[in-house]
């Protein structure tokens, strides 16, 4: 009797299977176009570069290209790029969360919140060439702020050592798309913080900063880390903004690589593959760090 009872549900589960078997292969056909496209225009081109980084012109294996990355004229731009990306990503995260918290949690009118989210959607996409023009028009030699500073306050920004075509200038410019991106990503996460958590913490005697340190920030941590990695990659690969802002006078990696592909500067194309490979490695490392930290921070999630 127990046997019969045990068999019946299994019966039900297996009967449709023979009918589905031909579909088992068929259902992969549905995703084939996408997978082929992704392979041809995303994955293989990238792998191609990776392979090229380890090849001699006649196809043999070499580490010479990679070794070339450590020549000072290549290593230095890499270092500047890493610093630039790290600084803009960190500042973007920090300022972004402050602004998002001010609008979602700070008791400001609700209209401001919608306005800021819409504006962030625009500003995070207002990157590249036009953004550089906007900053040239503002902080460049004849820019609005530069002129006002000189004529109204008698302060010469140039005299103070400020130059838009510099690390600081690039940082200021990149933040214009980094901060809004952070706001867009972190606002839903802030909305996910339940009112009960704050009230429970308060009734248990916690101050506002204790609540943030012990509850809110740890809960937000995975989203924060993810955004940090994303902002890092976003800034590391940005070419157009830097290009339009500085011409090619500032040595950051994407600009070096751009010049290399155009064939203007470096003569050795295989060093170009190595540079591109180096870029993948660095954004890759940023993401691996992110994934590792995230799995550690997410023990309490399902």
């Amino acid at each position: 009797m127990t046997d019969a009872a045990a068999i019946r549900p299994q019966d039900r589960a297996t009967t449709p299977r023979p009918r589905r078997l031909p579909q088992g292969l068929l259902k992969w056909v549905g995703v084939a176009p996408f997978l082929i496209f992704a392979a041809l225009f995303l994955i293989l081109p990238t792998l191609n570069i990776v392979v090229g980084a380890f090849q001699t012109p006649d196809g043999g294996f070499t580490l010479a290209n990679i070794a070339g990355l450590f020549r000072p004229e290549i290593a230095r731009p890499f270092w500047i790029s890493i610093q630039l990306s790290f600084v803009t990503a960190t500042l973007g995260c920090l300022i972004g969360i402050i602004l998002a918290a001010a609008v979602t949690r700070g008791g400001l009118p609700k209209g401001l919140r919608d306005g800021m989210l819409t504006f962030s959607g625009v500003a995070s996409n207002f990157a590249g060439v036009p953004l550089a023009f906007a900053f040239i028009a503002t902080l460049g030699r004849l820019g609005l702020v530069t002129v006002i500073a000189k004529e109204v306050f008698g302060v010469s920004l140039m005299g103070l050592g400020f130059n838009l075509i510099s690390f600081l200038g690039l940082t200021l410019t990149y933040l214009y798309f980094q901060i809004p991106l952070m706001i867009l990503i972190i606002t839903p996460a802030l909305d996910g913080l339940k009112r009960e958590w704050r009230e429970a913490a308060e009734s248990l005697g916690a101050t506002g900063s204790q609540y943030w340190r012990m509850v809110a920030l740890p809960i937000l941590w995975p989203s924060l880390l993810g955004t940090l990695a994303l902002l890092f990659a976003n800034s590391f690969g940005a070419v157009a903004t830097a290009m339009a802002l500085t011409g090619s006078s500032l040595s950051i990696v994407p600009i070096i690589l751009f010049a290399q592909i155009r064939g203007d500067v470096l003569q050795d194309p295989y060093l170009g593959y190595a540079i591109a490979f180096g870029m993948i490695v660095i954004t890759g490392i940023a993401n691996v760090i992110y994934i590792v930290l995230r799995t550690r921070a997410e023990r309490w999630l399902k």
């Binding site: 009960e196 958590w197 009230e199 429970a200 009734s203 101050t207 012990m214 509850v215 740890p218 809960i219």
Partner: protein, 351 residues
Amino acid sequence: MSFLRLTHLEKTFGQNRVVKDFSLDVAKGEFISLLGPSGCGKTTVLRMVAGFETPTSGGITIDGQEVTGLKPNSRNIGMMFQAYALFPNLTVGENVAFGLKVKGVPRAARNARVAEMLKLIGLSDLIGRYPFQLSGGQQQRVALARALAPSPRVLLLDEPLSALDAKVRVSLRNEIRAIQKDLGITTIFVTHDQEEAMSISDRIVVMNAGIADQVGSPFEIYNRPTTKFVANFVGTLNTFDAKVADGRQLVIAGQTLNLPMGTALPPKGSAMAIALRPEALRLGRSEGYEAVMPATVEEVQFMGSVIRLRADVAGSKVSLDTFNRADHPPPAIGERVEISISGKDVIVLNA
């Protein structure tokens, strides 16, 4: 001597007065329920005691200390919320330790207290789990332990059972009551579930539209409701039209009822409404039940130990509860029966 005293509390949100002139004295160790439909202001009263809302006027004192202007984190109050209020990033042990940690209690003392609390709620072996690994009932027990760990002066419960399924609800409410009695902690419990309030409280405050309609023990509230709202909100009620006759007598459907001494009645000859609980109606004739009315059975609900009948008495529907008896099947639908009532069970409703 009252431990928690609320005096003339008022709360206005914009144009909306949600709590009106609410006063209540709670003795130390007492378990008080605020009962009412949603939007009656019961949660607002609780949140004012916790400090999450500031009263528009009126005052709150705990153990002689004026706390009205105090921030929530300096009131030393424990609170339990509807659901999902555990910190999801902390383990059970860390959740319970939270209040002690922010107070700066040293680790050893903290761990001892956490162990004690978890033992109290019977979840000692779950100390390392995260909230998502617990059932709803377990989560709420941990929330109770967390609220109690810093030894609060008052425990506030904001519908802590409403998100749980029926069985867990009953067992957890008994557990809460047992722990509350054990610790002797003054407790305010907000609920919209009258059965819950009845079974657990020393006293109940029935609230309606921001006003405390009646304050009393569950027995008083159920048997001697003072307003129509309380009578209708708590339990089921049958209402009858009656006419005042001589002295303490009422005439209902041509029959006379003798009311108990001291019942205030309108002048002779005026019409009034009286009410009776379903269990005050008897099936058939019974000694001491002076009025007998013919009725037609319309519905029979067998609920186990009790059988509820719905019957038609002269065009109006009444409910009647009778105990189940194995040797005595309930009447059939459509059967004509007699229902008798007694003056001593009559509830006279003021407005």
